[in-house]
Amino acid sequence: MSAPGTAPSPPARVPQPWRAMLRRVAPDDDRASILQDLDEEYRQICALRGAAAARRWARSQVLRSLLPLLRRRAGGRRLPLEPRGSRTIALLHDLRYALRSLVASPAYGTVVVLVLSLGVGANTAIFSLVNPFLFRALPFADPHRLVHLFETDPRVGGMGWDMIRQSWPMVEALREQSESLEEVAAYYYASDNVSRAGAEPEQMTVGRVTVNLFAMLGAKPLHGRLFTPEEARSGDDGVVLVHESLWRSRFGADANVVGSTIRLDGREHVIVGVMRNEFNFPFGAVRMWRPLVTDVAGSDWDDRNFLTVGKLARGASIDVAAAEVQAIQRRLQGQAPAAFEGLDARVVPLKEALIFFYDQMQALMMLLLAAVALVLLIVCANLGNLALARASRRQREIAIRTAVGASRFRVLRQLLAESGFLSLLAAIIGVLLASAAIGAVASMIPGELWRAGDIEVDGAALGYTLAISLLAALAFGLLPARQLTRVDLTPALKEGGASTGAAGGRRLGKLLVASQVAVAATLCGSALMMMLAFRELRNVELGFDPHGVVSFDLTLPDDSYPGAEQVRVFWGRLTERVESLPGVESAAVIDLLPLNFAAGAFDYAIPGREPATDDERLQASAHRVSATYFDAMRIPVLRGRAFEPGDSGTSDPVVVVNRLLAERHWPGESPVGRTMLLRSGDREVEARVVGVAEPSMGGFVFNGFEEQVFRPMTQSPTRGGHLVVRAAGDPAALVSAVRGAITQLDTGLPVGGVRTMPSVLAESTAPLLVASQVLSSFGAFALLLAALGVYGVVAYAVARRTHEIGIRMALGAHPRAVLGLVLGSGAWLVLSGAVVGGLLTWLLGVALAAGGFGTPSLAIPLAVVALLALVAGVASWLPARRATRIDPAIALRAE
């Protein structure tokens, strides 16, 4: 209120700092109104209650207005690009927007999903393949406490199998004396003839286990019960456990199987229980178990039949257990010095022991995992490049959005929503692809290999898939994000469109492509190496001719063939009969089939020649063969003769050695007529050398040729053997005739494992085959991606510089000059990528050679560099060529 005649005082206003606060917080379009209203009420209250009250009121109003106004500001603008309301709605909005922009450019979305699903799928597949071997825990109770015990012979060098089985007295000693092992169990496995009512007799691998094994492993039966301690006594052991898979396939999942009987090796056995599917011991092929009879297990320290497993006591470590076992061994040397001479003890985690060739398997699996991860890397690089290209096209759109208030964070979230959605889609498709691939690959892996559970896409694999696809989404989603949200808005908003800020992107893009090329080169190189190694192995000189030979597995049961004489007679009659069949060139018997993952060994000594050093233990791989063996397998006999009918059970022991052994001990002279001492346990046989044969491959193709000693089947008969038959024509045609001959001699004798030798060879190299096939497909995929990458980069460069090219051509530039311009520095980068890849390949070859795998050569790396250069050349030539065809007129008009 002012006195009349004076200038009116300015109307009262809400004082600072409250006014400033409100200014700051109010939304732009409401700012003026809010302040106006506040001032108006402020004046009213000033008039009614005085300035002090008014000030207090104003302060309260402003403070209580802060939160609602801030929320209003954050929660939503009234711009159509921004959603209103809560955070979940914002996320859904992002997703919808992502979908819309993807639908607008379907080519991009399709390519990303396709390529990424291949990359993710491959990773999932390999992970699922590797999981049962590397990562998954054993399906037993307390798996980390389960161990396998071995005695080892440190003198066996190279790749020899230095782990020895144990004798029963040793097992008992371990049980009684060991404190670090709270439980000790033993087992072995053998081929038994199984027959039941109404079914053909067959041969099966049956495990013999001490009755405490199942409890130690924490295994519970699906039906029925486990063995009781009484059943470990001979006579009371007529019981058997069957595996669930067997129960389903052979017994039709009949609930009444428990209590029924089957014949094993001529004796009736009662089925007392069915073991669950997950239970697997000691390897997949063993699907029946009998109790190990302990009262007649023997007291012979040298009768080494048993494999021992144990459970560590709580708190005991493997090293402690190993030390203890060694100590026990040394104590026992007093009782049986010869048995333990020079031997060592080893305790390994159960998983490592059960998986054949664990170290090599592990290395192979790691290699596969690394390779496939590299593939994913390339995929992400490729996608990143695509994303970059796409992003530079969207710079204008994003600039506008940023200008009207979308925060950088919102833009990032938008990009991640896009890439996340695509990744999720790719993950789903990838999992489906992986499941299909796994089915195919798993069937190639031999069932003998132990693994923890099935090879399948399980929960762990799905988790792995999700993790890597999220990582991929982050990688290629964020790649352009950094660049986009930094962009200075003005140039992007200008009519000229986006080319600023793209310089960094271009460099990054080129780098990505170069690294793609390098990785692709390395993958191709390793694939090539693996393929060559595999081919080498397949074509390796076997020392015998496998083509046209078919083999049959036979095991003569104790009851029908109680003594050596019966066994001898059977084999003799069998070979006679089979050789007389039409179409049969020759037939023979051998105890252990070559390339069949089984081998035996003799110790030997040459009388009069003591070994040079005490450490040197003379060992040769041992074979018992019938007289016609060398003939049937076409193994050349270089000196002397093969076995003859005269070499019978009653005549002097004779042997045939191979050339390696002969050259070692009798270089330059003929060993025929010399004697050798063969040692097996504490038995020693003096035998005369009657012939020298060319070396032939033993049980493992990876081992190469070893010294061999052959004994005639007549002098050292075995119940388990393989009949090998060489056919004049097609071996498959003979099979039924041979079976007939066998049945004629013994109707109840089951015939197992009928295979041709070439397929035996194939099976022995199966893991390497799988690996090389997988690596080759990776290499091809990587090559394709690298080519696409190069193509993309060059095509993009051409598109971007169309204007410039048009100008140059209008000014008379030669097409070839234009070509050179486009390819320019990019070519150098690609070439250097190829060279780097070639170098890596060479290094890999050297490393493998050091591990005894192939020889290092320059050929493969050079080939790889040439291949990549060629592919990259074609991939860049195609779009570059288009550049020269540009009509200058159109180009100049284009933008």
Binding site: P8, A32, I34, D37, R64, S65, L66
Partner: protein, 109 residues
């Protein structure tokens, strides 16, 4: 009624005030109306935030009045219900009425 159309409590109060005040409805009058009738001392910022939300939903709109016929007088920003807003408010009140029907609650003054 679609989910988005349910009114929060303050929104109801503001809309009722708009209905009552008609042409006179602007920031100060709306706030004072609510304070005097319900006793709820609402901050001016909360009123504006609510008006903004209502506008987003299409239930209210603003219009500018002629400048005051005094020296330095400004035009003011007024608010009113839209047709939809009116609809929604009535629907809400009907719902409340149905909930109340037959209930004998002594609500006092």
């Amino acid at each position: 009624m679609p989910k988005g159309d349910h009114l929060a409590e303050l929104e109801q109060y503001v809309m009722l005030a708009l209905m009552r005040l008609g042409d006179e409805a602007y920031g100060v009058t709306i706030r004072q109306e609510i304070q005097e009738r319900s006793g709820r001392d609402v901050a001016i910022g909360a009123v504006y935030a609510t008006l903004g939300r209502l506008a987003d939903k299409g239930f209210a709109e603003s219009w500018t009045s002629e400048p005051e016929p005094v020296q330095g007088g400004r035009s003011r920003r007024h608010w009113r219900l839209t047709v939809e807003g009116d609809e929604v408010l009535r629907r809400t009140l009907r719902m409340l009425g149905r909930m109340l029907a037959g209930l004998e609650i002594e609500v006092g003054k």
